[in-house]
């Protein structure tokens, strides 16, 4: 992330450029085009680079912005400034409609969907009579401030780049917030995000609309710069070009979008001038070079160029933690003194004909540590997924503090105060341990998109991070707080997941093989931590293979084999239980 000083220098340089004596007007026009492209690419960085939603259709949203203002200003002579909110509104509505469908698409279906509507909208622009069909709309009025008409590209330059800078700052602010962490969590998969109460479909829609609005803004500016619109710049090829800029700059890097747009725009210009001279043809040969470059970049520098630039700059200082920040409000706890905290009754899960979990019933009392053990493939993880709502029950029920939570979904279960860790660690490896853990407190914050962009969320952020750092210290990883989570040993990453779960302020903690990959003394520390949590009234259910760890720690053990419960009881009962011994030692016993 960029600190303030480089941004100020950048702004100053931008402001001075048009005033350089002898600056060819043509260069200013190029810079205008770079700025326009950068706006779209910035949206794509957020959408694709950060959120992992690849779109080839962004150019169509530029079209919404451009056509809206072109139509309204030419037919109804509305002032261009008034059409800006209308253009953004229309594009926003279109984005919500397309987005509701698009963000639900999984994996590679999503980019294919964007290709489909990208092409369709392009054809639509060219077929509508009111929009001038393929000829488009001409004599769009220029922007004007007071009586001063911004007819000149050099005047538009300031307008365009002011918007670029504003958009960049807004986007950075958004990324560095509670919503921003949720956006980044999209990459880690739906299951991990939803487990902490993040509504992934809603967050995806937010990013989608945000990117579309930036594209529409670019289109609106474009219409008043060119003073004419036609379908060509809003087709699929343009959409590909924008994606190219984002990838080239480095997906995930806001200022990389500017770098990528600059490179691509300049390259296109050079190619358009040089290639015809070389080949004697006026054809649009730059597409060949672009295509090849795209392939080459993906082969040699998949992360784009901005990270290469960043690696030469000093890194941003670690986030400051305010130890004295007031604590976050504790969650409303659902505790009970009578009856079980968690109760499975006849829980069954069948995949097709295969019954993975068969009529499993057990209960967990408040303030108890219960272990779920069994040989590999016994159905422990499936049982876990039934409790956390990742999988739906085929039969039976799960009750928590007296409420039936069967089939209510992961987010609702998290809201009840059930937090979990994952057997296959689901952290965001590039993000710091601190930010990963802060994700766990998502439901304890309120700040939305607007307050994040406007930086009204700072108080809450300080408190969120103070809480995250307290939980990290509690699990004994304070010295690793500012490192990328992916740089820790696997065992430590599991502990980070526990800290993240604690950030939710849970009543029940579900741990999937927490001790795997830990050294002996680390296991001891983990056991001590769990005992301490129990003493504070926390209930814990864990799946574990390490018998020594389980035997010394738990109050109650449930043993599964082939999907069914074969035994339960105190550790010392389980140790001598004949069915358990047979399951563990197999036919060779």
């Amino acid at each position: 992330m960029m600190s303030r000083r480089p941004l100020l220098v950048f702004t100053l340089v931008l402001a001075l450029i048009p005033n350089i004596p002898g600056m060819p007007p043509f260069w200013i026009t190029l810079l205008d085009n770079i700025g326009l492209a950068a706006l779209v690419a910035m949206g794509l960085v957020l959408l694709t680079g950060v959120g992992g939603l690849t779109s080839f259709g962004q150019a169509a949203f530029c079209g919404f912005g451009a056509y809206t203002t072109a139509y309204l200003t030419t037919v109804y002579q509305i002032s261009p400034w008034l059409t800006l909110p209308i253009a953004l509104g229309l594009a926003g509505i279109a984005a919500v409609v397309l987005g509701i469908v698009t963000v639900r698409l999984s994996g590679h279906f999503l980019p294919l969907g964007t290709i489909a509507w990208g092409i369709s909208l392009y054809y639509a622009f060219g077929k509508i009579d009111a929009l001038g069909r393929h000829d488009g709309i001409s004599s769009v009025p220029p922007l004007a401030i007071g009586g001063w008409s911004l007819r000149d590209p050099a005047a538009m330059y300031y307008v365009i780049w002011a918007f670029v800078l504003l958009a960049g700052i807004a986007t950075l602010n958004l990324l560095d917030s509670r919503v921003g962490r949720a956006i980044r969590a999209l990459r880690g998969g739906r299951v991990a995000a939803e487990a902490f109460g993040i509504d992934s479909a809603r967050i995806k829609l937010i990013v989608f609309v945000y990117a579309a609005l930036l594209a529409a803004l670019s289109g609106w500016l474009y219409a008043h710069l060119q003073r004419a619109v036609n379908p060509t710049p809003f087709g699929l090829n343009a959409g590909i070009e924008y994606l190219f800029m984002a990838v080239l700059g480095g997906s995930g890097q806001i200022w990389g979008a500017v770098a990528g747009s600059a490179l691509v725009t300049l390259l296109k210009d050079v190619l358009q001038r040089v290639l015809p001279w070389m080949t004697g043809s006026t054809a649009q040969l730059e597409t060949i070079v672009f295509g090849i470059l795209l392939v080459v970049i993906l082969q040699v520098a998949r992360d784009g160029i901005w990270p290469l630039i960043l690696s030469r700059l000093p890194g941003a200082p670690p986030r400051r933690i305010d130890d004295k920040a007031p604590a976050l409000a504790a969650r409303q706890r659902e505790t009970r003194s009578d009856g079980p905290m968690l109760e499975l009754a006849g829980a069954t899960k069948a995949f097709g004909g295969l019954v993975a979990v068969n009529e499993v019933s057990f209960a967990l009392k408040p303030g108890e540590i219960v272990a779920l053990i069994g040989p590999n493939g016994a159905g422990k993880s499936t049982t876990f997924n039934l409790i956390t709502g990742v999988l739906g029950l085929s039969r039976g029920s799960v009750r928590f503090a007296g409420h039936d939570i069967s089939g209510v979904g992961q987010r609702a279960i998290a809201a009840h105060g059930i937090a979990r860790t994952f057997q296959h660690v689901k952290l965001l490896p590039e993000m710091s341990v601190l930010e990963n853990v802060a994700l766990g407190a998502h439901m304890r914050g309120r700040a939305g998109v607007l307050s994040s962009i406007l930086r009204l969320d700072r108080d809450e952020e300080v408190r969120l991070f103070a809480e995250a750092s307290r939980q990290i210290a509690r699990v004994g990883l304070a010295e690793h707080m500012h490192k990328p989570a992916g740089s820790l040993a696997l065992g430590q990453q599991r502990i980070v997941e526990i800290a993240r779960a604690l950030c939710l302020d849970p009543t029940l903690l579900l741990l999937d093989e927490p001790a795997a990959g830990l050294r002996h003394f680390e296991k001891e520390a983990l056991a001590d931590l769990l005992r301490q949590l129990r003493a504070e009234g926390m209930s814990v259910l864990l799946v574990e293979h390490d018998m020594g760890f389980v035997m010394g720690l738990t109050d109650h053990i449930v043993v599964l084999d082939f999907g069914s419960k074969i035994a339960e009881g105190k550790p010392e009962e389980i140790r001598v239980h004949p069915a358990v011994l047979a399951a563990y030692l197999g036919g060779t016993a």
Binding site: P375, N376, G377, P429, G486, S487, L488, A489, L490, G491, E513, A516, G517, R519, H545, D546, M547, G548, M551, F562, I574, R575, V580, L581, A582, A583, Y584, L585, G586, G587, T588, A589
Partner: protein, 238 residues
Amino acid sequence: MTALFSLDNFTVSYGKVQAVSDVSLNVAKGEIVTVIGANGAGKSTLLNAAMGLLPARGRMTFEGQELAETDDVEARVGLGLCLVAEKRHLFGSMSVEDNLVLGAFRADRSAFEGTLSDVYARFPRLLERRQQLAGTLSGGERQMLAMGRALMSRPRLLMLDEPSLGLAPRIVADIFTIIADLRAAGVSILLVEQNAKAALDIADRAYVMELGEITRSGAAATLAADPSIAASYLGLGH
């Protein structure tokens, strides 16, 4: 004893995290060697990297020939090194027989019929099910098919990753009998198992792996008799 297969200072990393560090081990001709250890100790990673599925650093020799540090899984199959992976990796939508036919993809075509009847003789269940799709087999049959498919390439060293995983005790016993038979037929075996007792019963030598490192090694019988091993890996006794 000449080593058929050896690893020297073998290291495997995921990003910045080392999953296997500086492991050295060897397997002699006609030997069953087992690697035991807890979940997450790096046993599967070790086998996958030895097969070339994961990048690794260190020296690796097979039949005196040094294997490059490349990811050339296919060349290893050609040399007679074969892995039956933990996930079996069968071709689920293809018939049992097609799975076996593909097992011989790199093998000498002239010996194909003989090898196929040999595999069917070893696993009569597969002959019964030869036209059935591999995806419809039971867990034990899948393991048999995975081993049968590996045998189709006429391997000199068979690496088995958790062959007893998720199988009923009776079938586990069958599988281990077959492993013993294979040694008698001249196939050397490197066996990774969580069912440490079964593995130590059948193996000649054993290595114990913890957190990516080899911490103990020796004759299987010696390790099986060691009380600390018994406490950690041989069930629930303390």
